[in-house]
Symmetry: C2
Subunit: 212 residues, 2 copies
């Protein structure tokens, strides 16, 4: 049988390196040498570099979206009325807590997501939408019930704005933490920042729509 963990070692290493340096800037040689496996292992187990990238996302997103779907089931069963706070709170607690054994994991993932979304060709963007779009739509419907005064199209854009805030902030977390620390002599964790993000997003999502 296979040497135990070759596939996982590749995924673990690739995840970190992709987040650190980007997809194009991370070579298979860098991944395999750091993971302690042979260069050919990536093409043998995954087929290509691009398939490896997709596998990295899949490994993170599948449990996340499953957990999110479960939480939404729970919310609907309980009959709690939708508010922006509860819905966004669910997402943020989930994003930070899907891998509680490794608090850095969430930050890595958001950096990956930032990389994926800034890929202009939109290849990954399309893949993510295709595979996880359903849960995303469901989330948006709950939000719509929470802010009925905001039109669906307006809300669509506000969700995109929110996504931007989250991904951008968490994908540049280290630089921003450094600035914040030197300017305000206060070190903030990813959880701290998420806590600050929440009221910002709530304020933005339920802001009054100008008459136009």
């Amino acid at each position: 049988m296979a040497q135990p963990g070759t596939v996982d070692r590749i995924l673990d290493t690739a995840e970190v390196l992709f987040a650190q340096k980007g997809f194009a800037e991370t070579s298979l040689r860098a991944i395999t040498s750091k993971a302690g496996v042979n260069l050919a292992a990536v093409n043998y187990h995954f087929g290509s570099k691009e398939a490896l990238i997709q596998a990295v996302f899949e490994r993170f997103l599948t449990p996340f979206s499953a957990a999110l779907a479960a939480k939404l089931d729970e919310l609907e069963a309980s009959g709690t009325p939708d508010t922006p706070e509860t819905i966004l709170g669910i997402v943020s607690r989930l994003a930070l807590g899907t891998h509680p054994q490794d608090p850095q994991r969430a930050a890595i993932f958001f950096r990956l997501a930032g990389q994926a979304y800034s890929q202009p060709q939109g290849h990954l963007r399309q893949y993510l939408n295709q595979h996880y779009g359903a849960v995303f739509k469901r989330l948006q419907e709950h939000l719509q019930r929470a802010v009925p005064d905001v039109s669906p199209m307006e809300l669509f854009w506000r969700v995109q704005f929110s996504l931007g805030s989250v991904i951008f902030t968490l994908s540049g977390l280290e630089s921003l933490q450094a600035i914040s620390k030197s300017d305000f002599k206060l070190e903030l964790s990813a959880a701290d920042i998420t806590q600050r993000l929440l009221p910002f997003l709530v304020g933005g999502i339920q802001a009054p729509v100008p008459a136009q």
Copy 2:
């Protein structure tokens, strides 16, 4: 003397291609062949590919930050009280209007900025901060006066959140416009989206800070 416009033709082409496909994914051969200049021209005129990237940013940011500084002078001289709407309005009108002859130019720049910020090593991020940090600080001070109830640190983070919304949205503009068009049968321009961004950001920036 030089064939007129070699440098500018390179900059024009590089700007578009970098925004379309990213820095690493855009080769000097792609730039020079599309620009109709010799491959060696980049290294002759700029020194290296990285220097070309910096030059592209410089050409856009220098007039923008100068215009922003002038607008802030104007604002201070007029004695108008600071509000989030006026300050963010200045920035957004400037971003869309710095190159009025080419409305697509602003979108290109934000895609570039998105690329730069998602570069994890932060090389460009540092360069941008170093060269244009002063205007940025000044902008933040005005915002602080507009929302005195938000602590400086809280505001710092909210500005970062806002930056994320702007850059993320405008850098992925085409994909988002396509989704919006197919879902809502309505085509939106960059200016339309900026108009929707503004109340979202204002709502976020002046949202109540939780007791904590």
